[in-house]
């Protein structure tokens, strides 16, 4: 009940005219950028972060919520209309969605994904509102060693457990951790890995890394392959779902949400798992198995799309209540908080309840706005997909450079951006996941300070790290998560069956 009142007061913050405007601008911008092929939610949020610099913190975070949901929605439009999912979590949507579009049912596919996202987003946001305060109560008892153990769990699940190759994921993570060391050590004021360059004293910005790895790396990857542009499907068929479509969609929406939210909130490895779980469940339960290989089954769009949205919203639970980012998007959101000197976690709930609950309320509002604004505007989004590839990527690079020029404007920053772009290109080419690097960069310094704090309290006795029951359990979980892929044969087999 307490949460309910807090949420209601959050709505009074979010419902002011200015904040509603921020939310709608965020939704529109997020969709417009997220709909561009090859651009997933993480990059969208990173690219649009500079826009929020000059707003007040709550307005800016509210716009952020809009951008975030808009980007998610834009991404699924792209997966359905052209078969280029911006990230692996929309792969499942693309499978059936694109088949449906090809057989002239793009309209219902877009509608079921939008409404499914809305329902999943609504349930998941309600889940955040009720779960986050509970997690906060739990988290206030955490000592530094418990936080450290929790971060170790996040490191492992993000990089090793569910990727194609745990080794590649860990390499990516450790490079991110190494980048995170650059700059002034907060506890002693000594500079590390700066090689005498004053530009490096502030360390590596998460947005620079993310934009470089994702946006510039992607542009280089595409240009290196001379990819023939995928055909953009016409928006054919009515946007409205028939009675039959509704009947076939509502259960997958709910099942998808049930997969997505817990897996996202736990954090047990990102949005990819629940989308594929939902996809295979719907395929097994489908009463129209013949459609899956021919004209596309609406269940195969509705379920994974809901799972994707619910799990991404789920990652906000550890982010808001513990300050723990467990996906690339969450890492960039955290950077968004930090630009205002805000650190999500139990303290933020206590000190700035207006801001936290205003943000949660805005998630509801942004989610509702999506359905109201975006379904009718789908014609405009489809036109964005028709921008010729050269202009599209030229524009993306412009925006990428703009972000770093607007924040720092230094030559060193631009060169770093380019360097990360080249790294991102090579990682994509040789199949290394980039998300662990982003999470490592932002979470590494946080883990280090908890680690050192714990050892400071224990006067250097490393046993403190395993003496607390919470920490010991969490480290045990991390260890299991690390060896799980070797024991279980990993997700690969599961994915191979799916293809």
């Amino acid at each position: 009940m307490e949460s309910f009142y807090a949420l209601m007061s959050g709505f009074t913050v979010a419902m002011t005219a200015a904040n509603l405007l921020y939310a709608s601008v965020g939704v529109l911008l997020g969709t417009a950028v997220g709909v561009l092929p090859g651009i997933g939610p993480a990059v969208t949020v990173a690219l649009l972060l500079p826009i929020t610099f000059k707003l007040d913190p709550s307005g800016s975070l509210i716009m952020f919520a809009g951008i975030y949901y808009g980007a998610m929605y834009g991404g699924s439009t792209t997966s359905i209309l052209i078969n280029t999912p911006g990230e692996s979590a929309s792969m499942a949507t693309a499978l059936q969605g694109n088949l449906m579009a090809k057989s002239g049912r793009a309209g219902p596919a877009l509608a079921t994904s939008a409404i499914g996202s809305f329902i999943a987003g609504f349930i998941a946001t309600a889940g955040i509102a009720f779960l986050a305060p509970w997690m906060v109560k739990f988290a206030v008892q955490f000592g530094p060693e418990d936080y450290f153990a929790l971060m170790v769990v996040a490191f492992i699940t993000v990089s090793a457990t569910f990727g194609d190759s745990p080794l590649k994921g860990l390499i990516s993570l450790f490079c991110g951790l190494a980048f995170g060391l650059i700059g002034i050590d907060k506890l002693t004021g000594q500079s590390r890995l700066t090689f005498g360059l004053p530009e490096l004293l502030d360390g590596v910005e998460v947005t620079t890394l993310a934009v470089g790895l994702f946006a510039i790396g992607e542009a280089m990857f595409v240009v290196s392959r001379h990819r023939v542009a995928e055909e953009v499907m016409q928006m054919t068929g009515s946007l409205w779902m028939s009675k039959e479509d509704w009947k076939r969609s509502w259960k997958p929406w709910l099942r998808g949400t049930m997969y997505g939210f817990p897996i996202g909130a736990l954090p047990a490895g990102g949005a990819e798992i629940p989308t594929f779980l939902s996809y295979s469940t719907e395929k097994r339960l489908s009463k129209h198995p013949e459609e899956w290989d021919t004209i596309g089954a609406i269940e195969g769009v509705a379920g994974p799309e809901a799972a994707n949205n619910a799990s991404v919203a789920g990652t906000l639970v550890p982010l808001l209540s513990l300050g723990l980012p467990t996906s690339a998007t969450a890492a960039i959101m955290l950077a968004g908080f930090q630009q205002f000197g805000l650190n999500p976690g139990p303290l933020l709930f206590a000190e700035k309840p207006d801001l936290v609950w205003g943000l949660i309320a805005s998630l509801f509002i942004a989610n509702a706005m999506l359905v109201v604004l975006n379904l009718p505007l789908v014609g405009i989004w489809v036109k964005l997909l028709k921008i010729p590839t050269p202009w599209l990527y030229a524009g993306i690079l412009m925006f990428a450079a703009m972000g770093s020029i607007a924040t720092k404007g230094s030559i060193a920053e631009l060169l770093m951006l380019l360097g990360f772009g080249i790294i991102g290109f090579l990682m994509r080419r040789y199949d290394y996941p980039v998300a662990p690097m982003v999470v490592g960069l932002i979470l590494g310094p946080m883990a280090e300070s908890q680690f050192r704090r714990a050892l400071q309290i224990s006067i250097g006795d490393p046993l403190v790290l395993v003496q607390s029951p919470i920490a010991a359990t969490l480290l045990g979980v991390a260890f299991l998560a690390l060896i799980a892929p070797y024991v279980a044969g990993g997700l690969n087999k599961f994915k191979a069956n799916e293809d």
Binding site: P50, L170, T188, R192, W391, A394, L414
Partner: protein, 160 residues
């Protein structure tokens, strides 16, 4: 699962290269950690965590080298590095123009035109014009509406 059993004798060169890069990175981290003076009287100093990460990198590097020698790996698709090079050059030109005070709009327009060229368009002047229009709009939006300070050159001062 079937293709990995067919040709086990080849080497996964990228994995070996990555392995050695990780060892090199570990070396840099270690050297930097050692060079930090020990100013901390109690608790653990700033050098400990870099050393732990360096140790992790060594382990991962060795594992990567080992796996590179043991399996063939999959050959990445054909790639054309020429256009990638053009993209890099475009970005460097942008950086230089910003650095030497060329201003936001011309630098962005040049980036737009070169990138578009790398993606196969050959109408450089048209693209340059589009770039100017786009970046002017962005400039006005960001500097006027959002009051962010963007680098000014002669052109931007005209815009006010």
């Amino acid at each position: 699962m079937s293709q990995s059993t067919s040709a086990p004798k080849g080497r996964d060169k990228p994995a070996i290269v990555v392995g050695f890069l990780m060892l090199a990175l570990a070396g840099i981290l270690w050297a930097d950690a050692v060079s930090l003076g020990s100013v901390v009287a109690y608790g653990i100093g700033p050098a400990v965590v870099p050393k732990i990460i360096a140790a992790g990198l060594v382990l991962l590097g060795l594992l990567s080298i080992l796996s590179g020698f043991r399996s063939a790996g999959t050959e990445p698709e054909e790639a054309d590095f020429g256009p990638v090079g053009i993209l890099v050059i475009g970005f460097l030109v942008l950086t230089a123009m910003i650095g030497f005070g060329g201003g936001f709009v011309p630098a962005m327009a040049v980036l737009f035109a070169i990138t578009s060229f790398a993606f196969g368009r050959r109408a450089v002047l048209v693209d340059l014009a589009i770039g100017v229009v786009l970046s002017t709009l962005i400039y006005l939006l960001f500097s006027k509406l959002l009051t962010l300070s963007l680098p000014q050159g002669p052109l931007e001062r005209l815009l006010g």
